[in-house]
């Protein structure tokens, strides 16, 4: 191809004919900022960030759409360009949650809150799962000066959780078009495009129907290419940036698609396509279910051996001894190994060698996604099979009842595991090295990237050890490569009926016989079958919800019937809530109560599983348990001026305190903070109640720019004599307030929110250090002297379960766990 020479920023560069100016710059190490452009996408020119000046051309052409031409003189960094780009960014940011981008506390905030919070709506970067890797954020931060001159336009879209596997928050979308362009590139006809126009333009499927019905195949490309936090992988999103990723092959079905698993903390948290290419596309199972099957919490972790009719966990030494002993006695007497082909070649080979060579038995191979062959089933029924070693969930009750001796080597529990004489847990998918032959006959290398859970082990190693324990030398291999070398002839597997990468109805429904939808609940929405699950424990009694609404995004106001609590509540106290019998005990501050009506009110910020359970409740529903009022009511000074600061749920929490102060004749100044005007609530109620209400927002959209600490400072600086500060909100805010007011000589009371379990002084989970003392926040607090609190310790203790909190997040589609189960496909032996 002919080369073109042009000059960019005074540097002579070359590019093949047909390339754009942007290509030319990038190829030569010159950075031009872009948002909508992507190397795997055709030119678009929507975001206009990549504008340049070209000698002899009018205006500011977009470099991503301008073909490079011989002799062109391009400039990328003129003052005019920088200013224009900043305007573009500012415009983009004004339609996007931006308070963290312009917040004056951002650096401290990131230091003390290294992880974004797991909220519902991402109202700012601190609440956005995209924060660790956000191109938009980086660009704005590089360009701006904490100032934003345009008003914030927050669209208040509800987060969309009704589709499997993905959470969509359209408030974050910058309409760069990467998503629908990649969908079009990969699938020809895109499942999504831009709906509506102008202010309400929003990406989505045609007629905003469910993605399941839109032709979307859940390849996940749009999620992976979206530069913002709009489109996210529900399972992976809160794990943060993976530590590493590498290339591997999906062995769930014989198609054997390449994929890129990513690992965080020794766990595979997600998989992606290896390239944004039609040929590299993945089906929903490869893209979403793979990591969820590996991470299934019911993975078999310990070898188990039956004793006194009960399966009892044991160690490997004991298990091997036991199984080798049992199998030794069964040698040559109707032994059958049932081997699921969704496995590495090495494992399958060693199983076969063992079954035939060591056990003098037979082998029944089961193609992935299939069920046991009728002929074999008949043999079992007829008693021609005495003992069975199975590697998956392929046997029904009737067949199981006919097997005298059953041994299971598998990854998940099943009917077979509960009937077996011994159950040996095995490593799967990215836990296993070896190779896989796909339907096309190609042999693909598999590498192990993480350790299996608990004590699960690699299958060929277990078998080799069993063989050795049975006195056979036949299977002595010192490495997986040695096994690979021993494989001489293996035929490619039979192809899967249909094309799962193109049609949801063709998706494989089983892995090693287990329903994939049992581990990856999202698949149920695609009509894939799953095992019946016991219903959640019924709530007897419970506390009725009289009223519930979302005051501002993520903040839910609930009024609940709890007469005894309402009779005794005092300002500053809290309650412990368990939404269901399976829930955590979670503390929430009392915002209000009405002894006469027998009701209490609380405001709950959606921040993780437990508050999400509250957020998902409906008016008229019940909460399983509410206990309170707990904690010591705040002790108030006789008289004087009290300044109360509230942020997030703390705005609600200071309300009863303010009312009590007001009733006892204090001068009360209320200082409220919010990230932006549209997330501020109850200002009106406070104005009616108190002498003065001052407001700060992080983006300056209402009141002072900043937070409670700035407001407190301003009150002191203007000469008001303050007798007491009270601050309630997130730990970060209270800490900052404590630091700011430390030298003012004014006492500060803060309401601490450590992790609690019982809330009645029984466990000590809520220990906080205040001065020299250790206190239990639930019974000694929640109010403490803010200047004496050990904030570092509190901050770290609150993070103690951050990983478990992510693991606990629900994976079902839909806000209330009502994943629509469509028709169940059933039928042929090849496709179940």
């Amino acid at each position: 191809m002919d080369m073109i020479t042009l000059t960019i920023d005074g540097k002579q560069v070359q590019i093949e004919e047909g390339g754009t100016v942007l290509d030319a710059a990038r190829r030569n190490g010159i950075e031009i900022p872009t948002l909508c452009a992507h190397e795997d996408l055709p030119d678009f020119g929507a975001c206009r960030m990549c504008i340049v000046e070209i000698k002899g051309m009018r205006g500011y052409p977009t470099s991503c759409t301008t073909p490079a031409a011989e002799g062109m003189e391009v400039r990328t960094e003129t003052e005019a360009l920088i200013s224009l780009r900043n305007q573009i960014l500012e415009f983009t940011a004004s339609g996007h949650p931006n308070s963290c981008l312009v917040c004056i506390h951002r650096e401290d905030c990131e230091r003390y809150r290294p992880r974004p919070s797991k909220t519902g709506q991402a109202t700012r970067c601190a609440f956005c799962s995209n924060r660790p890797d956000c191109a938009l954020r980086e660009m704005v931060l590089d360009a701006s000066s904490n100032e934003l001159n345009l008003p914030t336009l927050y669209s208040e879209y509800k987060i969309e959780r009704d589709d499997p596997f993905m959470d969509r928050d359209h408030n974050l979308c910058i309409l760069c078009g990467r998503c629908w362009r990649i969908c079009e590139k990969i699938h020809g006809t895109p499942a999504i495009s831009i709906n509506h126009r102008g202010r309400w333009a929003k990406i989505g499927s045609a007629f905003d129907q469910s993605y399941v019905d839109s032709g979307c195949t859940f390849c996940g490309a749009c999620i992976d290419i979206c530069p913002t936090g709009t489109l996210t992988d529900r399972f992976a999103r809160w794990y943060g940036l993976p530590e590493l990723s590498w290339r591997s092959t999906c062995t769930i079905c014989p198609q054997g698609c390449d994929l890129t698993p990513s690992v965080d903390g020794g766990q595979v948290t997600g998989t992606r396509m290896t390239a944004y290419d039609r040929d590299a596309r993945l089906c929903a199972v490869g893209r979403f279910a793979y990591a969820q099957v590996m991470s299934a919490t019911n993975r078999l972790r310990h070898p188990m051996v039956r004793e006194n009719d009960e399966l009892i966990p044991t160690d490997w030494e004991d298990a091997i001894k036991h199984v080798a002993g049992a199998l030794g006695d069964l040698k040559g007497d109707g032994f059958l190994a049932i081997i699921d082909e969704a496995n590495t070649r090495e494992n399958v080979f060693v199983y076969e060698a063992f079954a035939t060579g060591v056990m003098n038995g037979r082998v029944a191979r089961i193609a992935s996604n299939c069920v046991l062959d009728d002929a074999i089933a008949d043999d079992i029924r007829a008693g021609r099979v005495k003992s069975v070693l199975t590697t998956g969930d392929h046997l029904d009750d009737e067949i199981l009842s006919k097997i005298e001796h059953l041994f299971v080597m598998d990854c998940l529990p099943s009917k077979a595991t509960s009937e077996a004489e011994a159950v040996l847990p095995v490593a799967i998918l990215s836990e296993v090295a070896g190779s896989f032959r796909d339907t096309a006959g190609e042999v693909k290398k598999l590498s192990a990237a993480v350790d299996p859970p608990g004590r699960a082990r690699i299958e060929w190693e277990i078998i080799a050890e069993l063989a050795a324990a049975m006195g056979s030398d036949a299977l002595r291999y010192d490495s997986v490569d040695a096994v690979t070398k021993a494989i001489t002839d293996d035929a490619p597997p039979a192809p899967l009926a249909g094309s799962p990468r193109d049609n949801l109805k063709d998706l494989p429904s089983r892995y090693r016989g287990h329903y994939l939808a049992d581990s990856a609940a999202g698949l149920k929405a695609m009509g894939l079958p799953s095992s019946p699950k016991p219903p959640p424990k019924e709530i007897t009694g419970g506390f009725r919800i009289i009223k519930k609404y979302e005051v501002v995004p993520n903040f839910h106001m609930l009024t609940v019937e709890a007469p005894a609590i309402a009779r005794h509540a005092k300002p500053g106290q809290f309650i412990i809530v368990m939404v269901n019998e399976e829930s955590e005990r979670t503390p929430f501050t009392l915002l209000d109560w009405d002894a006469q009506a027998g009701t209490i009110t609380m405001v709950v910020e959606e921040l993780g599983r437990s508050s999400r359970e509250v957020a998902d409740l409906q008016e008229g529903g019940v909460i399983a348990h509410v206990t309170g009022p707990l904690g010591v009511p705040i002790e108030l000074p006789e008289k004087g001026t009290v300044v109360l600061g509230g942020g997030c749920y703390g705005i609600g929490a200071i309300y009863p305190v303010a009312r009590a102060l007001k009733q006892s004749g204090h001068e009360v100044i209320i200082a409220l903070e919010a990230c932006s005007a549209h997330t501020l609530y109850m200002a009106h109620e406070f104005r009616e109640l108190c002498d003065e209400v001052i407001i700060a927002t992080k983006d300056g959209s209402e009141g002072t720019k900043g937070g409670v600490q700035e407001l407190f400072t301003s009150v002191v600086e203007r000469g008001t004599k303050v007798d007491l500060f009270i601050a309630v909100g997130c730990t970060f805010m209270m800490r900052m307030v404590a630091e700011t007011t430390r030298t003012m000589g004014i006492p500060l009371q803060v309401a601490l929110n450590p992790i609690m379990v019982d809330g009645t002084g029984m466990c000590g989970a809520c220990r906080v250090s205040v001065g020299e003392d250790t206190k239990f926040a639930c019974v000694d607090g929640p109010f403490f002297d803010g200047h004496a609190v050990d904030w570092d310790e509190l901050g770290l203790r609150r993070e103690a379960y951050s990983r478990e909190e992510v693991e606990a997040m629900p994976q079902y589609a839909g806000g209330n766990g009502t994943a629509a189960a469509l028709t169940v496909t059933a039928g042929c032996a090849a496709k179940l």
């Binding site: 005894a564 002084g761 220990r767 019974v779 993070e799 693991e807």
Partner: protein
């Protein structure tokens, strides 16, 4: 025993104490199934036949609630298991529980006459057998409930003490309302003692029996917060109040680093696992405690339970205790099980410091070796540190299990309830009446952390006197004499 039929006796004595089938220790260490399987009926009868049916049975005196041991054992010999259970229930509300968790080796079995020459009769196992048998076979017929008295009694705390009092008073015709702070009833039996030692279904069965007697149970109800004792008496019209709130306030060691991430009270560790079912996370939302190595500090039952739970959660498990093996307060069987399952014991060792990293996460425990010095008040030789013998044990979790004291929520809101300097309630040991008129107390809240059976023993006394109190009878009783007899 001399006057018993001599011909059969020697033969009987030669029958050895019947072992209970148990899970293989290495296997059971990773599951939450109950450890011993319990006697099959035939074995129970063989064991029951070992009992000499002493005329002056020492075992009865050894039992804190004076169960008529020979009588219930006789019923088992006669294969009348229902009557055996009925006999037990005359003295204990929770035989299935006591049979499992009582320290029989220092109570009834310690003094059993068979035990002088051979191993004592397995009274605990027989108690458990009889109780399990009737439970599994539909329970006992509903006991008779006396005519309603019109009296209303509040029972605070749904642990063994509260359950005992509520059951007795309900049978005697009183209206009983029970208040429990947590979301489940059972007290330590559900939040502390693990499933493998006491299946929760058993506790549930006992509590359901209360409901059948007409006891009204309010969970999520913290007395001292949701309602005060004064309000119960004055506003809600109760004729008497019983406090059985246990000893639920955990003690810590007061050593540097104790607020590190990874340091738990035994209460928290056990509550997460047992009450909140963290072993079934994330089906249950409470975070489990995942650790490579868990060190439990202490030597009581609570410490043994923690150490054994740690094993079952997949961790390596070590017990650090400052005294010697013989001085461990835990039940023999529990220590034995823990050793068998592979818990590592570092005796005569005491923690001096929790070593942490930059993120306040625990890296390990610095400990010091101890040796036994002069006897202390309790008569046990006092452990003293061996200077310069400190060393480090790597571990990511330490479970502090050095004792509990009563929760102060009730005394704080009822200033006229007198407490001792250990925070326990002062109560008359003959009547269990506290310093506050109409308010009775029993169990750990009075005695400090003790045993299920002692809580129930006190509770029986309390129930009797609450009855007298509400019926307007004088509180001094003729049963006093009997009790002191039994002690001699």
């Amino acid at each position: 025993m001399e006057d018993n039929k001599k011909k059969t006796k020697p033969k009987k004595v030669r029958v050895p104490r019947q072992p209970m089938p148990e899970q293989n220790p290495l296997r059971r260490a990773k599951n939450f199934e109950e450890v011993p399987y319990g006697y099959p009926a035939d074995t129970a009868v063989v064991e029951a036949n070992r009992c000499l049916q002493c005329k002056k049975p020492l075992c009865v005196a050894g039992c804190p609630v004076n169960i008529d041991i020979p009588a219930f054992i006789k019923f088992i010999s006669d294969r009348d298991f229902t009557s055996a259970a009925a006999k037990l229930l005359e003295q204990t509300a929770l035989p299935a529980v006591c049979g499992r968790v009582c320290p029989q080796e220092s109570q009834c079995e310690e003094v059993c006459i068979v035990g002088k020459k051979a191993e004592p009769v397995a009274i605990g196992r027989l108690e458990r057998f009889a109780a399990d048998f009737v439970r599994e076979n539909g329970g006992l017929p509903k006991p008779e409930i006396a005519e309603p008295t019109g009296k209303k009694i509040a029972v605070i705390g749904a642990g063994p003490a509260g359950i005992t009092v509520a059951g007795d008073l309900a049978r005697w015709g009183h209206k009983v309302i029970m208040y429990e702070a947590l979301h489940l009833t059972g007290g330590v039996l559900v939040y502390g003692i693990p499933q493998f030692r006491l299946p929760k279904e058993i506790v549930k069965f006992e509590v359901d029996a209360l409901t059948k007697l007409g006891v009204e149970i309010h969970t999520d109800y913290v007395i001292g917060k949701t309602e005060t004792v004064d309000d119960l008496l004055n506003k809600l019209g109760f004729d008497a109040v019983f406090i059985g709130t246990g000893a639920g306030l955990p003690m810590f060691m007061n050593i540097p680093g104790e607020n590190a991430i990874g340091v738990f009270s035994a209460n928290e560790f056990l509550t997460r696992i047992n009450l909140m079912k963290a072993y079934d996370f994330p089906n249950y939302a409470t975070s489990p405690i995942r650790a490579k190595h868990v060190i439990t500090v202490g030597g009581g039952n609570v410490a043994m339970d923690s150490a054994r739970c740690a094993l079952r959660m997949g961790s390596k498990s070590t017990v650090v205790y400052r005294r010697a093996r013989e001085q461990m307060p835990a039940r023999d069987e529990e220590i034995h099980h823990a050793e068998q399952e592979g818990v590592d014991f570092r005796l005569l060792t005491n923690p001096t410091k929790v070593v942490v990293d930059d993120n306040n996460r625990m890296l390990g425990l610095e400990v010091i070796k101890m040796e036994l010095g002069e006897p202390d008040d309790s008569g046990r030789r006092r452990p003293v540190p061996v200077e310069g013998s400190e060393y480090f044990i790597e571990a990511d979790v330490v479970v502090v299990s050095i004792g509990n004291s009563p929760n102060p929520l009730i005394p704080q809101t009822s200033p006229d309830l007198e407490t001792t300097r250990w925070g326990t309630l002062v109560a008359d040991e003959k009547t269990m009446l506290t310093s506050k008129p109409g308010v009775f107390a029993a169990g750990d809240v009075v005695s400090g952390a003790a045993t299920v059976i002692s809580a129930m023993g006190q509770a029986k006394i309390a129930a009797e006197h609450i009855h007298k109190h509400v019926m307007g009878q004088p509180l001094t009783t003729d049963s006093d004499g009997e009790e002191s007899d039994a002690d001699s």
